[in-house]
Each structure stands twice: as C-alpha cells, then as structure tokens.
Chain length 413, copies 2
C-alpha cells in the first residue's frame, strides 16, 4: 500500500468521512474452512475479507505494521524503548513483530498469558502483576526455569520473601522489578520509603535479582486532551522518579523503569529515568483511544490507525431507521463509546444485546444496508474484544493473508 | 445437600446476609491440572473449590439441579414446556440435564452453537435466529441433514425461498418456525398479516415444513416488579396470540409457539397458545435477574438460586478501604449491576479494569480480606460471563465433582 493511500484510509477510519465499497457477500468461508486453507504460513486460495463468515475479527496488516513502525520510531527518537503489553493482542505473531521491530521485550498481565507467549516462541517477557498464591508462584518459577529471560514483579516484602524461597528451592536467581503504585491504589507498593525498603530487601534476598521499577499510570491513559493528559501523567509519575533517585542513591538497579501506555507514549520520555513504555492498544487502536485527542489534533487521536475491526452481517432490515446485525455484546463487548461503522457517517452502532448489534440511521446517513450486507466495525476497546475470539484474520488489500491464533485468549488466570 | 441447608444457602446468596467460611488457599490447582484429574467422568482426587487457581468459573450442582427441577415443575404445572436457551450456558452437559428433566428441546442463537451442541450429543435443537447468508444457510442445512430434529427460524419471504431452495437441493424438507417481532424490532417479521403471509408461503414451499411460531419478548424479561413485568409481556405477546389465531384459522401449524424467558417463565402460560418458554438464565441466575424482584418477594427475585460464581483471589490489600483481585472485565464483563461477593455484606465489587477487580469496603463490611484470600462472586450477567471461559467446574459441597467443557464458547458466528 502506498503512503498516500494509507493516509487516506487512516483519515477515513479516523474521521468517518466519505464512502467505501461495501459488497454483499457472495460466497463465505467459515472459521474452519479458512483455517484449513492456511497451510505452512500461506493461504492456499485467494479469499476476500468480505467473504468471511461473521462475526469475525480482522486486522489490517498495512495499518498494523505502520502502527508498530510509528511507535518504534517515536520512542527511539525520544531516547526510550517500547515493551509492548501483550494483554492487548494475546497473539504471539504480533508479539514477534513487535520484537522484530525493536521492542526490548513484551509485558503480560497474567502468568497464563506469559506461558502462552513462551510456548509460542517469545522469550523476552516481563509479567507486570505480582503472583501471590503458591500456585501462581510455582507457575511463574517454572516459566523462569524454562526461560531465564522471564522477569517478575513484586509489590510487598512478604511476597518478595516467598519468591526468593521458591527460586532458591528451584536452584536459580529470579529477576524481579518492584511494582510501584502510580496513585490508583490498584496494584503496587507506595513510592518512596516503602518501595526503597522493598528494593533493599530484594537486593539482599539470595533468590532474587533486582532489575528495577515498574510504574503503570493507567489512570492517565484516557484523559481527554493532550495537554491535560501530559500534565496529569507527569505529575503522577514524579513520585516514581523520586523513588528511582532513591534506588540510585542506594546503589540499587534501575536498569528497568517501565511505565506509560498508548495515551502517553510521546510524553513518558519526559519522566526522568523512564526506560520503556508498556504500550498496548497502539497496535489496534479503538474508539476509546480515538476520542482522547492527540498532540496535533485535539479532536481525534490519529497518531495510530484503527487496524482492528469486527466484520458483521445485517440480519434484519424490516424496521424503519435501523438494521440488526450478528455482532452483539458477545462479539463486541459493551464498552463505551460503542463500536463505529468504518467508512460510514450518520449512523450509530450499539451492542447492548448479547447476540445482536443494532445500527440506527441518522438524518445524514451515508449508507443504508440490506439483509446479507457486511459492514466493518472499529472496535470500542480492543483488549476485551480480542479476548472474545480464538483467531484473527490478517488482511492486506482486503485479502486474507494469514490466520493468527489468539493463543492467550481467555488466559485470565 | 439437605433441603434446609439449600434454603439457607439460597437465602445467603440472595440476600447477602451472614458470614460463610472463607479459607486462604493452601494448595492450588491450575486448569490443566484439574483437567488431567478428571478421567472418565470422575475426579481422581478430592479437590476443594477453594484450591482452584483463579479466576475460574464454578457452578454449584445442588443449586443448578434445584433450578432445573423448579423450572420443570412450574412450567408443567402451568401446562406448558421449557425449551431452554443454550446461549446462556453453551455447555452440552447442562443441555442434556435440561432434556433429561423434561425440556422439549433446547434453543441456540447461532448456527455455530447449534453445531457444537449437536457434535456433543444434543439433537433437539431450535435455532432462534434467521440464517441469511449463503454460508450460514449451508451450515444450517448441513446440520439438518445430519440431524432431522433441527428446527430453523425465518423472518422474511425472501429468506424462506432461499431456505426452501437449499433444502430441495439437499433432498429433504426442513422444519421451520416463523420468528415474530414482539415489538423490539430487533429480529422477526411483524405479527398479523405479514406473518400470516410468510407462514402461507412456507406452507406452500416444497422444501419447508411449517412447525409454528417463535416470539421472544426480550424487552420484558428485566422489567423490575412482577406486576409491571406481567402487564408488559402479556400486552406485547397479545399480537403473537392474534397471529397464532390467524395461523389456526388458515389451517397452518401452531404446534410450536415458543417465547418467554427467565423473567416471565411463570407468566407466559397466560399467553394463549404459547407452548414453551425459551428460558436461559434460570440455570445460573445473576445480579441482573436478582434485582427484578419476584412474584412472592418484590425486592429479590429468589425463584432460582445463583448457582454460577467466579472464584477470585486478592492480589493487593495495601490501600485503605479496598483490595484488588485478579478478576476484572476479562473475567467478569462490565455488565451492571456489578458482580456481588457471595455471603458478604457491606462491600461493593467493580470490574471496570480489564485485568483487576476492585472490592471496596463500606462501614458495615462483614469481612475484610488479605492477599491470597479467595472470594466468590455472584456474576453480573451470566450469558456473556460464561462466554469468557473454556470450562466450568461443577461443585458439590465445595468439592469439584466434574469439569465441564463450555463447548460453544466464542461461537458467535
């Protein structure tokens, strides 16, 4: 795809302006049929996106690749790195693309996610959640035994002692980062003295090797307006920077100081000491992020393109002003803002029903749809949407190029 | 379990009163470990529910069985039948329990769900959604070829003609019900003349065999207050009864007149002609249904017990007035009302974060929790919650009795 056509497409899906070609389905491939056509990494038949059975999850490869390149060029220009969060895509192929393009590693939220990534060839993994139960600690240490590149988080002295005991029992030293609360009080230890004491304990424990700091400021990622977002996250991360200074003054490792996300990826380098951003959604984008506004466009966050879409089919067109589709809450989630019809104007989509989506026309609707028509939705919130599907179709120029397994789907444990 | 202890438990989880025993985990079994312990339908080891790795989905067998018995005894006393909707549980074992207890069949919302049910031994299937694309029609007709008990819905003359052509091409006559709109304008054809004409067409088409009417009044199921709910649904279904009369006057089959749900199961027999209720949620119950009130208790809908729970573990207890758990939106959905802690009072649970749940204490909190403690959540809205998990654990007296595959999980196509 040429640069100009990509810019145009990005404009279309960001702004919702202008019309695109929307064919009625003529053939149709089920998930099993597509899977059987994908052999040794190659599609054995030429399949149009519009012939996929629905609802299904599609990712536009040109847009996905451009998003990854854009992220890498920005963070490297800013002197930091990316350590993308795999909780967003749960897909080893995408993790590998991120690593191949310069990411220093990936993050996972759950140990089962980390296991799925490792099983599929990904080694550079930082698990951002503290494992607190004997089961979870055992799983994490088994993973560390198999994969010495695995890094774990902790947020309390009691937990650090348990991790050290487990590592000693298994005969190795486990790499650890301290998870610091950014103010949301969700996970992490308080910055300052408490975090310093925990780091000193880790440094002394024979089974642990301190690698640095983790401080994810989730609360700032969706602040609307670039200036407001910047102000808030820099303030909230200042305590982490003070802790970073305390670590340095005490001779403790600050090799890793990981934080930030898609909403603050071009702000986080201003947090002194920060080494890498745990960006997730930038690969796919979604309606939630589009609405926060960007540095150059305060209305639309257009730094990254919406590569992830749900394909859905119209099931009923018998009632005035609306049609019913086959993508409801089980295909779209009920996150807000609702999913948006790509390339269309003057209509709203809702997925409040479990099984059915509802598209309502406004006065200036750019299209109308008939039974059997397919349309494409820009997703509401990419992470939980991906978690609903077992595979996604990788599309280039509206053709299926690959079938990717979402290997960590449902891996919430 | 004795009847009195079941009543007490039902009271506890409906009202949220009084304390139950909540041990801190001592061992812990991962999903794979539990699966490997379940051989030939028997657990090979005695495993406590509290030792399951979290988050995970549990169903209390005593409560589930009592719910199924209660539904069957009520509808049969009222002279109708149940045709439970498998979109709720997506689990063949539960479908079989429903059939074994007297249900005349099950419903599915999607053809992929119907395929998964049939593949797992369930024959009596009515698919409630019209298949509109060539792919979906082909799949439905393949299923009909394998399973002559499969019944399909249609809601337009064009679609009926396509179905008839497909059936003729495959050499059989397909059983069909007319889906009638109950006023929500989501699916179905308008009642009255339009529905009658469609039924007459079906009756004439050589590939189709008319079996009756489908009219699901989803909009009434969650109306708060029994009297209001009764009034609304009887009004809304009156047009379907008029259509039923038209069918009868024209000599068309009304062998099936299926409608209703968990919120109206003890009202729907008053809709003249109705043969069976498409009840789904009653097997599990959830916070959404508990809040609608029942016939005998206007505050709590206690006709059925909350058998389905999510087990979750406390990950962080360092901050005043709250703890963080491992069950967020990807484990609980973000449906409202939020999930509730079973057996506890004076606390609220939210799962707005993708990966983490937040439990906040109120002044009169009946418990407090430490890191590693497990708690059980009554789910918010059972259907989309079940759709997040690959298996559920069947529990009796707090012991794992079986591991059930949620065979139709993610089957939205």
């Amino acid at each position: 795809m040429t640069k100009s056509s990509m810019s145009r497409r990005r404009f279309l899906q960001s702004s919702g302006a202008a019309a695109i070609w929307l064919p009625t389905t003529v053939k149709g491939y089920t998930a099993n049929e597509i899977q059987s056509l994908y052999v040794d990494g190659q599609m054995q038949e030429d399949v149009s996106k519009w012939e996929l059975d629905t609802p299904c999850l599609c990712v536009d490869l040109d847009l996905l690749e451009a998003n990854i390149v854009k992220m890498e060029s920005t963070v490297s220009r800013n002197g930091i790195a990316s350590r993308p969060h795999a909780k967003t895509h749960k897909t080893p192929v995408i993790a590998q693309m991120q690593l191949d393009n310069g990411s220093v590693g990936i993050c996972t939220a759950k140990v089962s996610e980390a296991e799925a990534m490792y099983k599929n060839g990904i080694n550079e993994i930082l698990m951002t959640t503290t494992n607190v139960t004997p089961t979870k600690i055992k799983r994490a240490m088994n993973l560390r035994q198999a994969n010495p590149r695995f890094i774990q988080a902790t947020d309390s002295p009691q937990n650090a002692r348990l991790l050290s005991e487990a590592a000693i029992a298994m005969g190795f030293v486990a790499d650890i980062v301290v998870d610091i609360d950014s103010g949301g009080h969700r996970t992490g230890i308080s910055p300052g003295g408490a975090a310093l004491e925990l780091a000193q304990l880790i440094d002394q424990l024979p089974g642990l090797n301190l690698r640095g700091i983790l401080c994810y400021d989730g609360g700032s990622q969706h602040v609307v307006g670039f200036a407001e977002r910047k102000k808030q996250t820099l303030e909230r991360l200042s305590a982490a920077t003070e802790t970073y200074d305390l670590f340095n003054q005490s001779g403790l490792s600050t090799e890793i100081f990981s934080g930030g996300g898609t909403g603050t990826y071009n702000i986080d380098h201003e947090t002194r000491g920060l080494t890498d951003v745990q960006v997730g959604s930038y690969v796919f984008m979604d309606a939630q992020y589009i609405d926060i506004g960007g540095e150059t466009n305060n209305d639309v966050y257009s730094d990254f393109a919406a590569s992830l879409t749900i394909l859905t089919t119209v099931l009923n067109d018998q009632y005035e002003g609306r049609v019913t589709t086959d993508a409801g809450a089980k295909a779209c989630t009920i996150n807000r803002p609702w999913a948006r019809v790509k390339g269309a104007m003057g209509m709203s989509y809702t997925s409040g029903s479990d099984e059915f989506g509802t598209l309502r026309y406004e006065e200036n609707a750019s299209h109308s749809y008939k039974v059997g028509d397919k349309l494409e939705l820009i997703v509401s919130h990419c992470d939980p949407v991906v978690n609903l599907y077992s595979q996604m179709y990788a599309i280039r120029d509206d053709r299926v190029e690959a079938v990717w397994q979402i290997a960590a789907r449902g891996m919430s444990a």
